[in-house]
Every structure is written in structure tokens, then in C-alpha cells.
């Protein structure tokens, strides 16, 4: 690829990354939203977080399959409980990392 190709690629990718982030917020922040939309949008964060993390815990491989007992999932249980108890974001990140590190070193969940 030439210099021009790389530049075109990156600028093109930048445009299609920026527009979906910019258009809704600019369009919606200026007007009064109907209550049903606010109610629906209030469920979006919890739904997105769950959708982002669930496949990491319960699926994997190539081709993709369900997997129960992945180390990611086994470590997620105490990490989740720690988050519930302490409500500390930084603490949860560190505890999760530590547990995952230990689980990997011990070969937990690779069965």
C-alpha cells in the first residue's frame, strides 16, 4: 500500500467512527426527548455492559461455541461479589487482575 492508501484508509475509518458517535448526541441533546425514549435509553447502559462482557465469560474458541467453566468466568464470580460488596471500581479491577493471574498460573478452568 502507498502513503496515499494508508492516509485514505485512516481518514475513512476515522469518519465512519466519528459520525455514529457525533450525530445522535448532537441531534438529541438539543431537544426534549419523549418519556418513553428516556425510559428505553435508561436500560441501554445495563444492556450494553452485559452484552459486552457475557461472551467473554461464556463463549470462545474459533469457531465460536458456548463454554462453561472458562477461567474468565470462574474469576468473574469472586470479582463480581467483590464489586457488589465494596462498590469500588479500582479495587475490583485490581482484584480481578490478581485472581486471573493466579488462576492462569495454577491452570484453573482449563479443563
Amino acid at each position: 500500500m502507498t502513503f496515499r492508501d494508508y492516509l485514505l484508509l485512516i481518514v475513512g475509518m476515522g469518519a465512519v467512527t466519528y459520525l455514529p458517535r457525533c450525530l445522535p448526541i448532537v441531534a438529541l441533546a438539543q431537544r426534549r426527548l419523549p418519556q418513553w425514549l428516556i425510559d428505553w435509553l435508561s436500560l441501554i447502559p445495563v444492556a450494553i455492559l452485559s452484552a459486552l462482557v457475557a461472551p467473554t465469560l461464556f463463549a470462545g474458541g474459533e469457531p465460536r461455541t458456548f463454554e462453561l467453566g472458562k477461567p474468565e468466568f470462574l474469576v468473574a464470580i469472586p470479582t463480581f461479589l467483590f464489586a457488589l460488596r465494596t462498590r469500588s471500581l479500582g479495587g475490583t479491577v485490581l482484584v480481578g487482575m490478581l485472581l486471573f493471574w493466579v488462576a492462569r498460573a495454577l491452570g484453573v478452568g482449563t479443563w
Binding site: L8, P45, I48, A54, R64, G96, M97
Partner: protein, 245 residues
């Protein structure tokens, strides 16, 4: 959810320095998680033929981790420019939803600010900022600090990966679990009642099912739109007049 006016409520009381510090404090878990990811991307991009400077420019103009990973893999496989750009659009479509949800907290904010803020809307900054807006005491400036701190960490990590990533052992200190742990904790913060728990479970089931059956990243958008809609109607049905009286 109550409507908070993120623009006026907190704006006048706090000094700029305090906002900066609070934004930085909220952003550090993201930076921790971005570090191994960014290094990994830098290594892969370099192997696909991008110099560290191209990687840096890409992280500045694109700033979308998963799209960048896919683009690098496609570049390595010899895909066309149009195919890569189209794939990027599809992968990033979930930010359309996140941007819409953030708008609720940024009402009447000047358009110029929103255009700048929108640049930094990622899965991670969205999750952190939405949680903070919900808890209160959060405003657009703190949120912008979160976005841009994460952005700087991402740029630094990807460029560093392009230079030196091959020398760093994989999985050191469990750091590749940082973002998963962060998402888990932010998920806990969002579970503020039965309808939220229900929506989370539905979304997880949808996401895993879709992830296994359909290639690509569409599972995030499909599962979250599906689960939010199911949750929305369930709440309506539950609160309908005649029930629960």
C-alpha cells in the same frame, strides 16, 4: 431514571483543578485496561506493515480499539480499503446507541462541546461516564477528562506496542483481565432494581447466543437493543393501570 441537567447543576461550584483530578481518578481503570490492549494492537499493526507513526495517527483519528484490531487483521489479509472502512462502520454502530444514551445527560450543552466530546465516546468511557452521571456529582467537563485521558493512554499504548510490544510477555500480572473486571464492576453499579437485573440477564443470553451463531460483532447492538426493548415493555406491563393496584 431521573433527568439530571449535567450542564448547569455542578458547573459553577467546583474549580477546574478539582474537576480534572476527579476525571483522572475515574479514568485510571480504563487506562490500566488499555495498556495491554494497545500494546497488543501496536505489535499486530506493525506486523501488518504499519509503522509506529501510522499506528499513532490511526489511534488519533480512529480511536476505536475493536475496529482497529479488525482493520489490522484485514490489512494483513490483503482486504480492500472499502471493505475495511465498511467493516469499521458496522463495528462502530454500537456507539450510535451510546451517544443517544449520553444525550440524556448532556441536554442543552453547546453543540461545539458535543462535537468534541463525541470523539471520545468508547465502550469504556461510556460505561464509566454513564455510571457517574447516574450517581450524581458528575458534569460534562469531568466526563470530557475521562474521554481524553483514555484517548491519550490509548495512543501512547498503541505507539509503544509498535516500537517495543514484542518484548513484553503476554498476560503478565493478569492485566488482560482489567477491562473485563472493570465492565463487571460497572455492571454491578447499573443493577439498581429488578428491571435492570432482568435486562442484564436477557442481554447476556441474547449476546452469547448471537455471538455463537453470527460471526462478527453485531451481538452488542442486537443484544442491547433487544434486551432494552424487552425490559421496557416488561416494565410498562408491570406498571400498567389495573395491575399492582
Amino acid at each position: 431514571m431521573e433527568l439530571r441537567d449535567g450542564y448547569s447543576a455542578q458547573e459553577t461550584e467546583t474549580s477546574g483543578g478539582k474537576k480534572l483530578r476527579e476525571g483522572l481518578a475515574a479514568a485510571w481503570p480504563i487506562c490500566l485496561g488499555y495498556f495491554p490492549l494497545g500494546l497488543a494492537l501496536g505489535v499486530l499493526a506493525q506486523k501488518a506493515g504499519l509503522s509506529p507513526w501510522w499506528i499513532g495517527l490511526m489511534s488519533i483519528l480512529v480511536f476505536a480499539g475493536s475496529a482497529q484490531f479488525i482493520a489490522v487483521a484485514m490489512l494483513d489479509g490483503g482486504a480492500s480499503l472499502a471493505a475495511i472502512i465498511l467493516t469499521t462502520l458496522v463495528v462502530n454502530f454500537r456507539h450510535f446507541l451510546m451517544s443517544s444514551a449520553l444525550a440524556v445527560h448532556l441536554r442543552k450543552v453547546p453543540r461545539g462541546f458535543l462535537c468534541l466530546f463525541a470523539y471520545g465516546i468508547t465502550d469504556e468511557s461510556f460505561a464509566v461516564n454513564m455510571t457517574r452521571f447516574r450517581q450524581g456529582g458528575w458534569d460534562r467537563w469531568r466526563a470530557l477528562v475521562v474521554n481524553q485521558t483514555a484517548n491519550l493512554a490509548w495512543i501512547a499504548a498503541t505507539v509503544a506496542g509498535g516500537f517495543a510490544g514484542a518484548f513484553i510477555p503476554r498476560g503478565a500480572f493478569g492485566i488482560d483481565y482489567a477491562l473485563t473486571a472493570m465492565f463487571l464492576c460497572l455492571l454491578v453499579f447499573q443493577l439498581q432494581g429488578r428491571i435492570y437485573i432482568f435486562t442484564a440477564i436477557i442481554s447476556a443470553i441474547f449476546a452469547v447466543t448471537w455471538y455463537v451463531w453470527v460471526p462478527g460483532d453485531s451481538y452488542v447492538v442486537v443484544a442491547s437493543v433487544g434486551a432494552a426493548t424487552v425490559g421496557f415493555f416488561l416494565k410498562r406491563w408491570h406498571n400498567a393501570p389495573g395491575r399492582r393496584s
